[in-house]
Amino acid sequence: MKAAAFLMPLLGLSVSAQASPLGYLAGSGHDAIEISRLIALFGGVSIAVVVLVALLLLGGLFRRREPDPAHGRPQRDEGGMAWIYVGVAATVVVLAVCMFYNLKTIAAVASPPDDAALTVEITAHQWWWQVRYQDREPQKVFYTANEIHVPVGEKVRFLLSSADVIHSFWVPKLAGKMDVIPGQTNVTWLEAEAPGVYRGECAVFCGAEHARMEFRVVAQEPKDFQAWAAHQLQPAPPPGDAEIQAGRLTFESRCAACHTLRGSSAAGFAAPDLTHLMDRSTLAAGALPNDAEHLAEWIRDPQKYKPGTNMPQVPLSEADLAAVVAYLRTAR
């Protein structure tokens, strides 16, 4: 009963934690589901072992004993070796089953597919993700950042490389993580089984803003995905009114060294491509929600929201800032 009283809050905590958008026991991707079964097996065995040992320990501590013939002095060694023989034999059997299932799961999830519908190149930066959609036709290749759209039910291959230090690419609900290491291209793959927005994050410490290096995987029905991809190939719409026009000029003179925004002359390569910024739900790799107010705040003082970020504080007058925000708000 006491154990139950202890377990209940624990269970509550677990359930509430699994409601996290990053909890991977309730997965939605092919690999994540396979792996959650493996974790369930290994976790189940582990819990059983802990409970068994706890019971044996409690039994050993409190079981009834005959009066002590040695009167408190040490007693003769009356065996006990059977415990080790039986215990180790049982361990070996359980271990063998687990090892078999482990190798089976490795075979199911480890090898990248040859028949990927789509190949996406990811370049991890301190502290954001550059995304490049490969295509056989060069004019169909496009860039985006921090938000990766994929078609549901199809295998998507990811080629991972790093622009600076080691990162790790992880979408918990879809698959296990794969480190992103400078000087080598690691390959992983995702297959979402249901439409939805899946959170991803960097999992290897990569510097001050490691905690703010999120991304999103948006799984869409294939036709929606096609429409999205076609839209991504378009440049941002031309500026409408005068303020937006002014914002574009300011953007081109102050931001273009780092950012690209197709439809303007900005073609920098050190920071996220902003062509379709308004299609994304967050700013600065998950640091802030993407709305006009936060966009202005972010441009005004990036270090306030993401201390250490490589985006400098660009001195802009309030009018210039408002114009740049107005211009960026048209980038969809």
Binding site: L10, L22, G60, G79, G80, G176, Q184, P307
Partner: protein, 646 residues
């Protein structure tokens, strides 16, 4: 000057030994005062220094953790800047793993080895002192960078290329390298000392199958370190070359390999994990049976399991690198090899369980810690078993699940054994008991606080919370679990505080304890508490694993001889050298006097390394010259050491 070359060691009675005890005391005692303290080579004072220093580092590491837990208690907290947080988690890890967990076991082993083995000191007493001083120098090197405002900030495993000059400029990573080189030196010479002590300095009759399990644990750790430590020392030297001389070992733009760092680091790192738990398991294997009033079940199996764990430990380093994109065949091999370690661990667990079940437990504080340890050992073990499965590890690694696992290993398997060991051997070290009432409070607060604080970390990990993040967004859903973790870990800290208070109070006001307060069976309980400077007036003669329990256990006709009849060696500092396997008397060893050279050499080597790392060539030159001088004086052949071959 005549030099004695051969002698028949005198076998004398206790009465005769008692008459010679004042002379022995004169020969062995370190003079009082600072000069004596700085030059002492007595293993007991060195052991106590290790213990006290390691506990101070435990407090520092704990304070660092407390600040981090405040920052993480709720989402989007701004108590710490990201940089401050990075320095704290790095220093917390480095402190606990390198400055607490291993040195505290070195403290026990240094204090206990000669007493357990029936010897008067370690094989190389001066090297022992040097080992302590260089450990202290390494710890100071690391903390000086903290005080200078820029401590190492790349985690204890310090992955390149973030650790390279381009991404992490400043003196912090160089300070880490300096600290690790000095600690590596300390660990290596310490390991050499333990190995040679085991081979040479066991009491006559203490054959290899009669040494306590703690000896097996420390021996295995020492052998492991001998082969593992060079990997990390080398990794830091190569990193220094990359940072200071423009080489390209880890730099992919020059053809180097970032993963080379990870291989070298984990080739060291995994055996190191066993180095910080095997001696702790030894403490439990020796302490638990005393309170169960019977010998350990399965001595040989446990000794063998200890050694085979370390052997396997050298073949599993890749399980820290499952997500680095290695070929599937290699993953499958290292995954299976890692799981096999479950088997020797199971041997130990069932041996402890059987000892408790078939014994008659006495619920002392030390026993509570040892019994609690068994459960925590299993929890820490099974979570390791889960991460050994490659696909599971792809989800679990780099998350709080691993943080939970490593804390169950380092706190559950190391700290609980250590605290139990302190309650167990404190009467031997000081002649006083620790307070049992306060002790039981400290156990229950620590045990409940620990599980409350660290078990939910598994849940945070399963909910996707990565390690080493200075904050997290509210919508990630980790707020509740982190608040519980923070509160639980603070409760645990209160328990540790109760334990530390108990040490201080009992040191001065504890109830007096006799030579053998727990009715233990091994040799350390045959001498007074605290032991005299020479440990044993008579070198004991050993016939059984438990020389003090022979009458009760009635295992045969042969009897050990402790305090009744034994070898009296009193022509200066002497002890008996025996053969490596059977422990037959082989040589009368002359032991060195107290010496300043260990301290001088440690200072000189620190200067040498600091000069080299920071390119202060003047300091480097002086350090080198003084090191050579100290080494030559140290090793100068002494007539009385009479090197003989016959």
């Amino acid at each position: 000057m005549t030099v004695e070359t051969f002698r028949e060691p005198k076998l004398v009675t206790a009465e005769e030994a008692a008459r010679r005890e004042p002379a022995l005391r004169r020969i062995w005692e370190t003079p009082p005062g600072l000069a004596g303290w700085l030059s002492s080579v007595d293993h007991k004072s060195i052991g106590k220094r290790y213990l006290v220093t390691a506990l101070i580092f435990l407090i520092l590491g704990g304070l660092e953790a407390a600040v981090m837990r405040a920052q993480l208690s709720q989402p989007d907290m701004h108590l710490l800047s990201p940089e401050a947080y990075a320095q704290l988690f790095t220093m917390h890890g480095v402190t606990m793993i390198f400055l607490y967990a291993f040195p505290v076991l070195s403290g026990f082993s240094n204090y206990l080895w000669p007493l357990l083995l029936g010897s008067r000191d370690m094989a190389f007493p001066r090297l022992n002192a040097f080992s302590y001083w260089s450990f202290l120098a390494g710890g100071i090197a690391l903390y000086v960078s903290f005080i200078a405002g820029r401590a190492p900030d790349n985690g204890w495993f310090n992955y390149v290329p973030y650790a390279s000059r381009g991404f992490d400029p400043g003196v912090n990573i160089d300070a880490y390298a300096l600290g690790m080189i000095l600690l590596g030196l300390s660990t290596t010479v310490g390991g050499i000392n333990f190995i040679v002590t085991l081979l040479r300095l066991r009491a006559p009759g203490m054959s290899i199958n009669r040494v306590p399990i703690l000896i097996w644990g420390t021996l295995t750790a020492s052998l492991g370190n001998l082969f593992a430590v060079p990997a990390v020392t080398l990794a830091f030297v190569l990193l220094w070359f990359d940072r200071s001389w423009g080489t390209h070992f880890f730099d992919s733009s020059g053809g180097g390999q970032p993963l080379l760092w990870q291989h070298l680091f984990w080739m060291f790192g995994h055996p190191w994990v066993y180095a910080i738990v095997l001696p702790a398991m030894g403490i439990v294997s020796d302490g638990l049976p005393v309170f169960c009033r019977r010998p350990l079940v399965g001595y040989s199996a446990v000794a063998l399991a200890t050694v085979s764990t370390m052997v396997l430990g050298f073949g599993v380093w890749v399980h820290h690198m499952f997500a680095t994109g290695l070929p599937v065949s290699s993953l499958s091999f290292f995954s299976s090899a890692s799981m096999v370690i479950v088997i020797p661990s199971a041997v130990a667990v069932f041996a402890w369980l059987a000892t408790i079940w078939t014994g008659r437990p006495r619920f002392t504080t030390a026993f509570l810690f040892f019994a609690g340890f068994v459960l925590l050992f299993v929890i820490g073990g099974v979570s390791g078993f889960m991460t050994a499965a490659v696909p599971a590890d792809w989800q679990l690694t780099h998350t709080y699940f691993v943080v939970a696992h490593l804390h169950y290993v380092i706190i559950g398997i190391n700290v609980f054994a250590v605290v139990g060991g302190v309650y167990f051997w404190f009467p031997k070290m000081t002649g006083r008991f620790m307070n049992e009432t306060l002790g039981k409070w400290s156990f229950w607060v620590m045990f409940i606080g620990f599980n409350l604080g660290f078990f939910p970390m598994h849940i945070a990990g399963l909910a996707g919370m990565p390690r080493r993040i200075y904050t997290y967004p509210a919508d990630a859903g980790w707020g509740g679990v982190n608040m519980v973790i923070t509160l639980g870990s603070y409760l645990f800290a209160v328990g540790v505080l109760l334990f530390l208070i108990n040490i201080v109070v009992s040191r001065f006001k504890g109830r007096a304890a006799g030579a053998n307060p727990w009715d233990g069976g091994t040799l350390e309980w045959s001498v007074s508490s605290p032991p005299p400077p020479y440990n044993f007036a008579l070198i004991p003669i050993v016939a059984r694993r438990h020389p003090l329990w022979e009458e009760q256990l009635a295992e045969g006709e042969d009897r050990s001889s402790t305090n009744a009849k034994g070898f009296l060696l009193d022509h200066g500092r002497e002890t008996l050298g025996t053969t490596p396997i059977d422990a037959e008397p082989d040589v009368i060893l002359k032991m060195p006097e107290d010496s300043w050279m260990p301290l001088l050499l440690a200072l000189a080597v620190s200067g040498l390394c600091t000069g080299l790392l920071l390119k202060l060539w003047f300091l480097f030159g002086i350090g080198t010259a003084v090191s050579l001088l100290a080494a030559v004086i140290w090793l100068w052949p002494r007539r009385y050491l009479s090197q003989v071959e016959r």
